[in-house]
Symmetry: D4
Subunit: 147 residues, 8 copies
C-alpha cells in the first residue's frame, strides 16, 4: 500500500510514522521538506525572476511534478495541519486527493477543529498524533489493534 504524507514540513512527524510502521509492507512518499529548496527550486533551475510572484510560480510548478505524481499513486493520503502558517497548500492537496477518490487521514489539534470541518468531513479518519496514523495503517494491513 502506498502512503502520501502531505502538509506541515517543520517537525519530524513523517519520520515518526515511518519508524512506528516498522517493516509493514508500505511505501511512503511526500513533498520536498527542505523549505528553502522548495521555495527556490524554480529560480535555481529555471533562472531568477525579479518579481516574487513569478519566482514563486516557477517553484510551485516544479514542486507540483512531485506532489501530483505522489498523490496520484497513493492509496492513502495523510495531511497534517500544524500550528503555524496558512497551510493552504495542505488543504489544496487534501482537495485533490479527495476528488481522486483517495482514502484521506487528517491530522490536527483541537484548536483547528472548526476551520477544518469541511476537510475532516471528507476524511476516513481524523487523528492527533503520528502514532495513531501508524496504528491505522497497521490495522488496515493486518487487522491488529494496539494493545
Amino acid at each position: 500500500m502506498r502512503i502520501y504524507l502531505s502538509g506541515e514540513i517543520h517537525t519530524d512527524w513523517r519520520a515518526q510514522i515511518i519508524a512506528a510502521c516498522g517493516d509493514l509492507n508500505l511505501s511512503f512518499d511526500g513533498p520536498v521538506t527542505d523549505h528553502a529548496a522548495s521555495d527556490d527550486c524554480g529560480a535555481e533551475i529555471l533562472g531568477a525572476e525579479a518579481n516574487k510572484f513569478w519566482h514563486d510560480r516557477k517553484g510551485a510548478q516544479l514542486n507540483a511534478i512531485r506532489t501530483r505524481t505522489g498523490i496520484e499513486q497513493a492509496d492513502v493520503v495523510v495531511v497534517r495541519f500544524g500550528e503555524k502558517y496558512k497551510q493552504w497548500n495542505a488543504a489544496f492537496d487534501a482537495g485533490q486527493a479527495y476528488a481522486m477518490g483517495k482514502s484521506l487521514i487528517i491530522m490536527h489539534q483541537d484548536e483547528h477543529q472548526h476551520p477544518l470541518k469541511e476537510i475532516d468531513a471528507a476524511a476516513l479518519a481524523v487523528v492527533k498524533s503520528p502514532l495513531q496514523v501508524s496504528q491505522i495503517l497497521k490495522y488496515t494491513l493486518d487487522g491488529s489493534l494496539p494493545k
Copy 2:
C-alpha cells in the same frame, strides 16, 4: 457557461461579479453564504450533537451536497481568499476543482501571495477584484476587452 463562486462569504464580491456580468449568458452558483445557517444546518435538520466535532461534521456533510454538485457542474471555478479566517475550505474547494479539470480563477490581495503560490500555480488567472473576474468572463464569452 457555468461559474461556481467559492470562498469568502462575508463581503458582497459575488453580487459584484454577477452585476458586472450583466446579461451575459452565464449561470452562477456557490455555497450557502449565511454563516449561521451554514454552521448549524446539520444539527437543525438531523438533530443536535453535544460534541462540537460531530455538530460540525453533520453540517459540513450537508453543505457538501451543494458544494460538490456545484463544483462538478461548473466550467469555471472562482475562489476568493479574504483577509480573515483560516479559509481551508476555500483551498479544499480549489483542490477538488483542479483535480476535476475545471478552469480555476483565484482572487486574493498581495499579502497572501506567498502562501497561495501552489494554488495560484494551478490557476488560469490570479486576480484582485471582482471587476477582473467579470472582464475575464466577458472576454471568454465574446472576445471583447475592457476599454
Copy 3:
C-alpha cells in the same frame, strides 16, 4: 438538481418527499414501485421461464435499464431501508451510487443502525423521515432552514 429515490417500495415515502418539496426546482426518479410488475416484467415481455432463477434474472435485468440510468443521471441518491425484507437491492444501489460519486442520503430507523453502519458511513446525511429529506433538499437549493 436530480434526485433518485431508491429502496423500500411499500409505503408512500416518495410521494411525501415530492409533496414536501413543493415547487422547488427538482426532478425525481426511482424504480418501478409496482411489486408484481417489477417481479414479472422479464417473463411478461421476454417470455416465461420454468426456472425461478432465470425468471428473476430476466426481470432484474429489465429493471436495471431503469435503475442504472436513473442513478447515473442523479445528483443526489436517497436510499430508504424499511422494516421488512432483505432489501439487498437497496444496499446494492447505495454501493453503485457511492462508487459513482453521488451524494448519498440514507433513511432508516434506529433498529437498523448497526447493520447499516458501513452504508451510513458513506452517506452525506442519515435521516429518519421523508420530511428531513425535503428539508435537506430545500436547504441545498436555497439555503433556508426549517422554522
Copy 4:
C-alpha cells in the same frame, strides 16, 4: 490476478477457496474478519464515543480504508451471503464493485435467490460453494475444467 473476498466473516470459506486454489498465480484480499476488532477499531484508535452511531461511524470509516482499496485493486470480487445477519455491507460492496466494472461472483444458498436477484443479475457467476469459486478461478487462469 487479484481476488477480493467480500461478505460473510463467520465461516472459513475464504480459507477453503485459498486452499483449493493451491499454487495458482493469484493474490487474495478481503476485509478484517475479526468481528470484535472490526466493530471497535475506530474507538480503539481514534477514541471512545458515548453514542453508538458515532462509535460505529469511526469503525466503519477505518475499515473502509482497507475494503475500498482492496476492491479497487481487484480483478474479481467474490461476495458471499451467509445464512444470518442483514449483510447490507456485503451488498454495498457488490454495488461498488459492479460500478467499478469488476468481475463479480456471488455465493449464496437457494433460500436467498429471490432477494438477491438484482445482485445475481449483475454477476458473471452465481455459485453455492467455495469449491466452485476455486474451479472458476482455475478455469479462468489455465482453461482447465474439474474432472
Copy 5:
C-alpha cells in the same frame, strides 16, 4: 431517455419501434441507413480512391463521426442482427456500447443464438421483435406492462 438503434439496415425495424413507442418521451438515433450513401460517402466528399481498402476506410471513418457520437450520447443501445451479411459492425457497436456502460438490448432470431452468446451475455435483454423493444422502453419509462 436516448435510444441508439444499431445494426441491420435493410428492414423497417427502426420505424416499427419508433411507431410503437408513440409519444413516449424518447429520442431515437442510429446510423445512416442508405446503404449506397453509407458505402460511398467518403469517396464522394473526400475524393475517389482507386484501392477499395482506402475507399472503404474513408467511408467508414466518416460514418464513425455519427455512430460514435450517437452511441456515446445514448442511454440504451439496441443492436439488431438480421438474417444476412457478416454484420461485424453491429457486433463492434455492441462492444463499444458495452465498454461505455450503456444498457444493451440485442435483437435476433433463434438461429443465431449460439454465435451471439457472448454478446447476449453482455445485454440486459435479448429480444426477437421490435414490439418487445417498445414494450421494454415503455415499461422502463412508466412501469406499465403490455396487456
Copy 6:
C-alpha cells in the same frame, strides 16, 4: 451536435462553414479570432508584464478558459492548418481533442501533408476546404450527400 473550429484565425473559413451549414441543427464554437486581443488579453485584464514570456503566459492561460471548455463540450473538433506561422497551438488543440475522444476533422493543403501525417492519422477525415466540412456535417446529421 456541437462543433469546435480550431486553428488558423486569419481567413474567414469559420464563416464559410457556418454559412454552408445553413439551418442544420449545429452549434459552433472556437477561439477568439481577434489576434491582438488574443495576444494581449492577459496583460489588459491582469496587468502588464515587462517580460514577454510572462506577458504571453497570462494571455495564453486566459484564452485556455475558452478553448479548453469549447473543446471539452464539442462532439466534433475541426482544426485548420493555414499556410503561415508555426501553428503549434492548433496541433496542441488537436492532441487534446484526440485524447478526449472527440471526432477530429483536419483541414490543410497538400504541401503540409507529410509534417501533418501523425495528426491526419488520428483524424476521422482530412479535408482541404470549408465546403467539405459542411458536407461532412450535413451527411452526419441527415445522411444526404452533395449532388
Copy 7:
C-alpha cells in the same frame, strides 16, 4: 508491453506470433482456446441447463471473467478473423478494446475486407499474417524493421 490475442481459435496463429517474437519483452494473453471447454465451462462448474440459451449464458459469462480482464490489462489487442464461423465475439472484443483506447491490430484475408471496414478503420494496423504482427511488435519495442 502486454498483448491480448483475440479471435479465431482453430489455427495456431497465436503460437506463431509468440514464437516469432522470441525473447522480446512482451507478455501474451488471450481467451481459452479449447472450444469444448469454452462452450461447456458454465454448465460444468455451475450446473447443467436444459435450455441452450442459459447453457450458453453461463459459459459466456464465465469466459468473460478472463477475456474482460485480459483486454483491460493489454496495451495492444490483436483480433484475428478467420475463414469460418460468424465470429461476432471477435468483433465484440474489438469494439470493447477500441472503446477502452487500446491499440488495435486486425488480422484477416482480403475476402473479408468490405464487411470488416468499420473495424479496420478503428485499427492502427491491418495485417494478413502472424509474421506481420511480430514485425510490428518488434518495431514498436526496438525500432528495428524486417530485413
Copy 8:
C-alpha cells in the same frame, strides 16, 4: 518514475538527459528516432502504397502504437522543439499528454517563445537545455538542487 521524451529526433538530447540522470530511479521511453525507419515502417511491414498520403498514414499509425502507449504510461512527458521542421507531431504529443493529466516539461530556445506560448502555458516547466531537465528530475526524486 517514468519519463517520456517526445519531439525533435536529430540531436542527442535524449542521451544527454539520460546520462546526466545517472543512476536515479527513472525509466525513459520515447519514439523511434531513426527518421527513415519511422517514415517507412508502415510500408515495409504492411505493404507499399503508391499514394504518399496512405504511405504516411500506415507509418504514422504504426508509430502511434509506441508513442501512445509511452505517453499513457509516463508520469512526466518532456517535449523538445528544435530549430527546424514543422514539428506538429511534437505539439500533438504535448496536447495528448496535457489532456491525460501528465506533468509536462517543454524545451525550446527563445526564438520560439511566442508561437509556443499556449503549450508553455500548459507546462509545469519551460527549459532550454537537457541539463535543466536532469536537474528537475533529480530535484523531483530526491529534493537536491544543483550546486
